[in-house]
């Protein structure tokens, strides 16, 4: 069992970690047994779907059964280890997985699909540089107005953050900064 994956820091997302672990595991590079190879594939694909807001209600139950079979039925120790590690993570980080699936939130802020971007009204000077950068036309505003990101259009690409010289654009996890819903004239 991989101990590192059971001692994650606050900055590490278990869904993302398990996805990458399955993707780069020896089992993904072997192919000699169904439970090792296809098990690793399903772990990776399911984790990827969870991070992309495409989880299914049955995912946790299905993966637990799969991982139990991987432990039982893999041809070599590698598949057994992957099954054990995944099982232990699903258990230890059950709340994180549940948060991703049910609340669509990533506590560590790693899963880009779950974060939102916001323009801080105190810092925005209404220059419009972020509007020029946004390929999805998700930023509302005009000169000298505090700009506002339309969350229904935003694809979380994050390009606006670096485009803003005032460092007025921030990424947020579960806690969102306050701000206007529509552009209003700048205070400064």
């Amino acid at each position: 069992m991989n101990e590192k994956l059971l001692n994650l820091t606050d900055k590490q997302c278990p869904v993302n970690e398990l996805m990458n672990y399955a993707k780069t595991h020896k089992c993904a590079d072997c192919g000699k047994c169904v439970f090792g190879y296809e098990g690793a594939t399903q772990l990776e694909l399911t984790m990827a779907d969870i991070t992309m807001k495409r989880s299914r209600a049955t995912d946790m139950e299905q993966l637990k059964k799969l991982c139990t079979m991987m432990v039982e039925q893999s041809l070599c120790d590698d598949g057994i280890e992957l099954g054990q590690t995944a099982l232990a993570m699903l258990d230890k980080y059950a709340d994180d997985f549940a948060a991703h699936i049910a609340k669509k939130s990533c506590k560590a802020g790693v899963c880009k699909k779950f974060v939102t971007f916001h323009i801080l009204p105190d810092l925005c000077i209404g220059c419009g540089d972020c509007v020029d950068e946004c390929e999805d036309d998700a930023i509302m505003g005009k000169k000298k107005f505090i700009h506002v990101i339309d969350q229904s259009e935003c694809t979380q690409c994050g390009k606006c953050v670096s485009a803003c010289d005032e460092e007025a654009i921030v990424m947020a996890g579960a806690v969102k900064p306050r701000g206007p819903l529509k552009p209003v004239p700048c205070k400064r």
Partner: protein, 703 residues
């Protein structure tokens, strides 16, 4: 034997046998995919999961060895759960569309998911797309369909020792394939087809069209034997030659034909057109290997083998001693009948001794094979022309008319009845009888450039004559074998292709030339027999010559007798029902029923008519015999550069030397040459050693 219980049924198994095969042998079906009866079990797919002695965890039955008193449950909840999950996981990454797959209906995976009633839709679906590779000869790779069972890899690495296939990785993931992106030839593939044979899905398949030529699977796998009219076991005799057993090779050939050496010289080798090696570079030199084997068969062990049945007391007359007549005589005698061959010429052998020239077929080689037939008990009379088969039938229980087509035909040209106008049959017979040929003069025109036309032309070149060989066909459509064409040209034949014939010039006592014109194209209407020509304007010319020889077809000559006794059609061929003529007990076969053909075809006719005659005489018609027990090592190993090994040709004597005599134009392979050539064989027949895998439906619904 070991006794165990499977699903409540007591089953006996061999010691060391797997639970899976113990169950299958007992008619208890357990799904399985990565297991193959001829390959080491690995246990990767887990479809064959079972529970043993009530244990909680299921185990793969393919890698579990039977034990005395073992209790096996193939349908336990745990086993079924593992089996279903494994199948679902495989299907989740397998293309869902089956109908476009070459293996549709014969696919083990398809059969399995149908019987198990599962699909992969509860899982994340991800087809692993691998580009289809149809650039290799003979074998197509469609690894999008690979399920990584590893059967092809085990077959290639362990069973064959060729070690070309392995697990490879590309952007789509892991699949079976050729490491480093090599071609099969560069990787050292021996094209044995084991991978195709064991692949349960449509991932490794025969190249498009290869398996559709014949109705029988085995024929498609081994097309050389399928193409051979006598179905000689060609891969087996090539193997014997390679392993230094020419005597065994001859025995294998003799299981089907009594004229191996004749065929080694002059067979038209249809086998080589079928040979799969021809899809890689050039086909095997099968005919040349045959000749090598016969000429190196010191012990002639086959003579002591084969059947010789009790005498039946039945008498059979065979009219004609060509390859068909003598073959039938040989086998009818072995079947116990008293056989007398009646030959109109002074020498036995038909076209083998009175047609085909000595430079292609040395007389002593034919006579040796005919002598063996006589030694085996066949009686023969020469200089004996049968003119009334009805009268002959009174003295025999059965009569075979195998007179061939020994009468030459002339085209109806003005002057065709002049004295110095001959048919190829007569000229070749005189030539073969070492007669003085000076009656043809110094310059000859031969009409017709098929095998017979070339035989005449090349024979007369050897008499120092100037030979013009003219035919209606354009140069690229000439009917004769390519060897005849190139060797004939080297020997100085003046070929006049694309010519039409107007008249023979001269007087009835003195031919002076052949009047011809050039034809740009011509079409033949089968229905009316009419030829339509596009003539080149002003091309009419007279080729001066002292004589003209027609090599433009042959017929039986039977219509020349007042009453031969059997019904003939308007072309002089016997009217037939199978091999039966209009008279009870009188049969006909060979060129006399097929029209002009090749020796190997006539031999097969002889075999077939033998069966018909034997059944008529109360026998079972069975002439199959094994003169050499087969053994073939499936572990063929690697041969560096195998795909690029070039065909070895027999040494051809220099043209200026060979036109001076009547000796064989070719030298037999040396031992080294023969082994090199035999080494090139793909051994397509090894594929047939694999135990056929049965689909679920073929277990007869045992469960």
């Amino acid at each position: 034997m070991i006794k165990l219980t499977i699903d409540g049924k007591t089953v006996e198994a061999r010691e060391g046998q797997s639970v899976l095969h113990a169950a299958l042998d007992a008619g208890i079906y357990i799904p399985h995919l990565c297991d193959h009866p001829d390959l080491e079990a690995k246990g990767g797919c887990r479809l064959c999961s079972v529970s043993i002695n009530g244990d909680a965890a299921a185990v793969p039955s393919c890698t579990t060895i039977v034990e005395e008193g073992m209790v096996v449950n193939t349908k336990s909840e745990a086993a079924e759960a593992v089996r279903r999950t494994s199948m679902e996981l495989m299907l989740a990454t397998h293309p869902s569309e089956c109908t476009g797959c070459p293996k549709f209906g014969k696919c083990e995976l398809q059969s399995l998911y149908q019987v198990m009633g599962v699909n992969g839709e509860d899982w994340r679906l991800k087809p692993r797309i691998v580009p289809t590779d149809e650039k290799n000869p003979l074998i197509s790779h469609l690894f999008t369909r690979c399920v990584r069972c590893g059967r092809c890899i085990r077959a290639c690495q362990d069973k064959r020792g060729v070690k070309v296939l392995d697990y490879v990785r590309d952007a789509s993931g892991i699949h079976a394939g050729i490491p480093e992106g090599k071609s099969l030839i560069d990787a050292g593939c021996r094209f044995c087809g084991a991978c195709i044979e064991v692949c349960p899905t449509g991932s490794i398949v025969d190249a498009v069209g290869l398996m559709e030529k014949y109705p029988s699977y085995a024929d498609n796998v081994v097309p050389c034997s399928a193409e051979c009219p006598a179905h000689i076991d060609i891969p087996a005799y090539i193997r014997a030659i390679r392993e230094g057993r020419p005597g065994d090779a001859v025995a294998i050939i003799r299981e089907k034909v009594p004229f191996p050496l004749v065929l080694g010289h002059i067979c038209n080798h249809l086998c080589e057109t079928g040979c799969k090696r021809g899809n890689i570079n050039d086909p095997m030199g099968i005919r040349n290997l045959k000749r090598y084997a016969v000429e190196h068969d010191e012990e002639q062990a086959w003579k002591a083998k084969g059947f010789m049945k009790e005498r039946t007391g039945k008498r059979v007359a065979v009219v004609g001693s060509g390859p068909c007549g003598l073959t039938a005589a040989y086998y009818l005698n072995k079947l116990g009948h008293d056989v007398t061959v009646l030959e109109k010429r002074p020498q036995l052998g038909g076209p083998m001794t009175s047609g085909i020239p000595a430079y292609r077929l040395p007389l002593e080689d034919v006579m040796e094979e005919i002598q063996y037939i006589l030694d085996s008990g066949v009686k023969a009379e020469v200089n004996c022309t049968v003119t009334d088969v009805a009268a002959l039938k009174k003295d025999y229980d059965a009569v075979l008319v195998a007179v061939g087509v020994s009468k030459g035909k002339k085209l109806p040209l003005p002057g065709a009845d002049f004295k110095q106008v001959y048919t190829a049959m007569d000229v070749l017979a005189d030539n073969r009888a070492n007669k003085d040929m000076s009656y043809l003069g110094d310059t000859v025109c031969v009409i017709g450039a098929g095998s017979v036309g070339y035989d005449v032309a090349r024979s007369l070149v050897r008499k120092g004559m100037t030979v013009n060989l003219a035919c209606l066909e354009q140069a690229d459509k000439i009917l004769a074998d390519m060897d005849d064409q190139t060797e004939g040209a080297e020997e100085g034949i003046n070929l006049l292709p694309g010519r039409s014939f107007e008249a023979i010039e001269g007087t009835p006592d003195k031919v002076t030339g052949l009047r011809i014109h050039t034809v740009l194209s011509s079409t033949y209407d089968r229905a009316t027999g009419k030829v339509t020509e596009v003539v080149e304007e002003g091309s009419q010319t007279v080729v001066p010559c002292d004589s003209v020889v027609f090599a433009t077809g042959q017929h039986t000559g039977l219509q020349e007798f007042d009453n031969f006794g059997i019904e003939l059609n308007e072309r002089g061929f016997p009217v037939l029902d199978g091999f039966n003529t209009s008279m009870d007990g009188v049969f006909a076969a060979g060129d006399a029923i097929t029209g002009i053909s090749f020796v190997i075809k006539a031999i097969q006719q002889g075999r077939l008519v033998t069966a018909a005659i034997d059944r008529y005489l109360g026998g079972d018609g069975e002439i199959a015999e094994t003169l050499c027990e087969r053994s073939a090592d499936p572990h063929i190993g690697r041969i560096e550069g195998f795909g690029k090994l070039e065909r070895v040709e027999q040494t051809l004597r220099a043209a200026d030397e060979r036109v001076k005599d009547e000796l064989d134009v070719y030298h037999t392979y040396s031992c080294d040459q023969a082994k090199c050539e035999a080494e090139r064989c793909l051994q397509c027949d090894l594929r047939l050693q694999f135990t056929p895998v049965k689909l679920w439906s073929e277990y007869g619904g045992a469960n």
